[in-house]
């Protein structure tokens, strides 16, 4: 099993996401992460899916996706030369005594603190999947009240060449 990142261009109308996710569940494929948003192409959305699959299975997934009328293209993103990002928003309890230790630990990351009150704060972080995982590990020592992650969105940089 390998982690794959795929990028779909789909028609932007109702039901399309159901068609895509329904295909995954129906055929027993797994979705690890999913994000959807509009694109610069009018009437088109991009769906970014992270999935775990064997080498033969990933080809099946792509071909099955390509059969959907609303799916215009499916691309497997290369491991390198892909800009992959995820947004994390984390609400946690931090006592005044640990506040400085936390910001010290976070200093290597480009973390924003968009909201803070006595004893609790909200962190905002955008990074690649590995950075997100590392940041979440750091949170192990704190009481996390709420955690949001957007799922990965990604773009291949190969076309820049």
């Amino acid at each position: 099993m390998t982690n794959w990142l795929m990028s779909l261009i789909v028609n932007n109308h109702f039901g399309v996401l159901t068609r895509v996710t329904g295909l995954f569940s129906r055929r027993g494929y797994n979705i690890a992460s999913l994000s959807v948003g509009e694109t610069n192409l009018s009437g088109m959305s991009r769906v970014t899916i992270e999935t775990q699959a064997g080498g033969a299975e990933i080809h099946q997934i792509i071909k099955q996706l390509e059969k959907l009328e609303d799916v215009k293209s499916v691309a497997l993103l290369p491991r390198t030369e892909t800009i992959a990002r995820e947004l994390l928003i984390i609400k946690l309890i931090v006592t005044a005594a640990r506040r400085d230790a936390l910001t010290d630990a976070l200093s290597v990351y480009d973390v924003k603190i968009p909201y803070e009150e006595e004893g609790r704060l909200i962190l905002e972080f955008t990074g690649n999947p590995a950075e997100c995982e590392a940041l979440l590990k750091l949170m192990d020592g704190y009481t996390v009240l709420e955690l949001c992650r957007t799922g990965i969105t990604a773009m291949s940089a190969v076309n820049l060449k």
Partner: protein, 556 residues
């Protein structure tokens, strides 16, 4: 010209070449039926929407044109689902049109409201909810385009009732055009031709796409030039006449011994428009274990889905076979064919052994003798279906109509009516079992009322024979729920529906009844008393390979 949505729909159907639809009225399609009533389209009303969907499916399989079925919202729409799923599994072009509640009531669990697009998503190629009358004509045309293009299949169009009443400027959408499937590069065909010319023991595994893709002549030319025997899937049985010397019959679970022998011993398997279903390749790892594999299919998602092949060629069967026939040398080597012939002579199919009742194998031979060459044989699902596949000598494409992938008992009555509607001049015979027939026998009313006479032959063994056979072989003969004990009098039943009823206790009696039925031009039901202990052999148990064939079993 200002027309209602219903009128625009009907005009668009006519533009798509539709001359027959199967439809059941209801609240949300009342405008559509009003418009249908004033059109030249022939409207056939089934007893139940499922029968209508199967009829549209049967119509499509026989005619090669997309079948159309119309149903109302809610239960009308959900009753179509088995029929749509059946068409999906067997790649049959079908356009299902459903009414839905008016737009302002949608999403409120209104009376007879069902999200039929949600329900049918997994069993359609695509479906549409028409949300604006301006999209209606283009959507209907697109539905036909999708249904017939590439690998055919069903498409559903859901239309809210208020759109069918709304007025809009009618602009003809024009006839759909089949979207062409690009063929694989020529280099792949050269590779395939090279593999074929080097093979000493090639085998064609032919599927339903040869029949639906009108590629039977191309298959014959290819097989004859390469001197390559053909084993067919259930769906591919009419691709080559049963009597053709290269035709080995059905391969797989209930396939002929010679087909499975060839599958096991070939050094090259050329799959043409077939999909290696579990009923063919029970053990995916041991199917054609000594062969390199070439897979030709219009749908690339079939490649390596079930069985991993060495070479994939994307394309329609007819174009691909045409090209390959040009590229392969004429093969005069008869070693492999002789070996197959020897095996076939020494390992024939089980013979009909008299018995007290109507012997199914004998019945199928009689049926061939008594029917026209172009007669259409429709089946339901179960033992009778397998016996038909094994013993009926097929002569022409599109004359065997059966539920392959879905295995839907109850398919036969509707499908036979659809087949007759597509071909009123041909004999249409439904071979069914008492179990399958019980599921949709109310369609007898449709056959009688719509003047679409068919001949129904019931192999009545009083049991659900195929499940019972599994219970006998694999469940210690514990016959749970398969001995039905029903007291149905099929002769009286037929008469009650306005059809003719016959009872037959021997094959000869069945033959006599069949002669009368076929010459009467009336819907007829022939109740053939059959032995419940008769089993379908040979059999490769589920998940097993050609090494594990069972040729027979003792009955306690």
């Amino acid at each position: 010209m200002r027309l209602t949505g219903a009128q625009i729909l009907i005009r668009t159907l006519i533009e798509q070449g539709v001359d027959t639809v199967f439809g059941y009225p209801g609240g949300t399609v009342i405008n559509i039926f009003d418009a249908l009533g004033e059109s030249e389209i022939k409207l056939i009303m089934p007893s139940h929407e499922q029968g209508g969907a199967h009829a549209a499916d049967g119509y499509a399989r026989v005619s090669g044109k997309p079948g159309v079925v119309i149903a109302t919202s809610g239960p009308g729409a959900t009753n179509l689902v088995t029929g749509i799923a059946n068409a999906y599994m067997d790649s049959v072009p079908l356009v299902a049109i459903t009414g839905n509640v008016v737009r302002r009531l949608m999403g409120r669990d209104s009376f007879q409201e069902v999200d039929i697009c949600g329900v049918t998503m997994p069993v359609t190629k695509h479906n549409f909810l028409v949300q604006n009358i301006s999209e209606l004509a283009a959507t209907v045309k697109e539905a036909f385009t999708i249904a017939v293009s590439g690998r055919p299949g069903p498409v559903l169009v859901d239309i809210p009732k208020d759109i069918t009443a709304e007025l809009f400027d009618y602009v003809p959408a024009g006839r759909y055009k089949v979207r062409e499937t690009p063929m694989s590069a020529q280099s792949k065909l050269y590779l395939a031709a090279d593999m074929i010319s080097k093979s000493k023991r090639p085998l064609i595994y032919g599927g339903g796409g040869i029949v639906s893709g009108n590629a039977c002549e191309q298959l014959t030319a290819f097989a004859e030039r390469g001197n390559i025997p053909v084993a067919a899937s259930l769906m591919g049985l009419t691709a080559l006449p049963s009597a053709h010397p290269l035709m080995l019959g059905m391969i797989g679970m209930h396939g002929t011994p010679v087909s499975n022998f060839a599958g096991k011993n070939c050094d090259l398997l050329i799959s043409v428009a077939a999909r290696f279903s579990d009923r063919v390749a029970g053990d995916r790892k041991r199917f054609a274990p000594n062969a390199r594999l070439i897979h030709i299919d219009i749908d690339p998602a079939e490649f390596d889905k079930n069985v991993v092949c060495d070479l994939h060629i994307r394309g329609g069967a007819s174009e691909a076979l045409d090209e390959l026939t040009k590229l392969i040398p004429e093969n005069k080597d008869t070693g492999w064919i002789n070996e197959i012939e020897l095996f076939r002579r020494e390992n024939p199919m089980p013979e009909a052994v008299g018995g007290e009742k109507v012997n199914p194998r004998e019945l199928l031979r009689l049926l061939r003798a008594l029917t026209d060459d172009d007669a259409i044989l429709v089946t339901d699902v179960g033992q009778h279906q397998m016996w038909a596949a094994q013993y009926f000598p097929f002569t022409q494409p599109r004359t065997f109509i059966t539920s392959g992938g879905l295995g839907a008992m109850g398919f036969g009555m509707g499908a036979a009516i659809g087949a007759k509607a597509a071909n009123p001049d041909k004999q249409v015979i439904l071979l069914t079992g008492d179990g399958s027939f019980h599921m949709n026998l109310t369609e007898l009313a449709t056959s009688v009322t719509s003047n679409l006479p068919i001949t129904v032959i019931i192999l009545n063994n009083g049991v659900l024979g195929m499940v019972r056979q599994w219970q006998h072989l694999f469940f210690g003969s514990r016959y749970v729920s398969t001995t039905t004990g029903r007291k149905t009098d099929f002769v009286k039943l037929a008469e009650a529906f306005g059809a003719a009823g016959f009872a037959a206790n021997t094959a000869q009696e069945a033959a006599e009844a069949l002669k009368i039925a076929l010459s009467s031009n009336r819907t007829s039901v022939i109740d053939c008393s059959a032995d419940p202990d008769e089993m379908v052999f040979p059999m490769i148990p589920s998940g097993k390979s050609g090494d594990d064939i069972i040729y027979g079993a003792e009955v306690d």
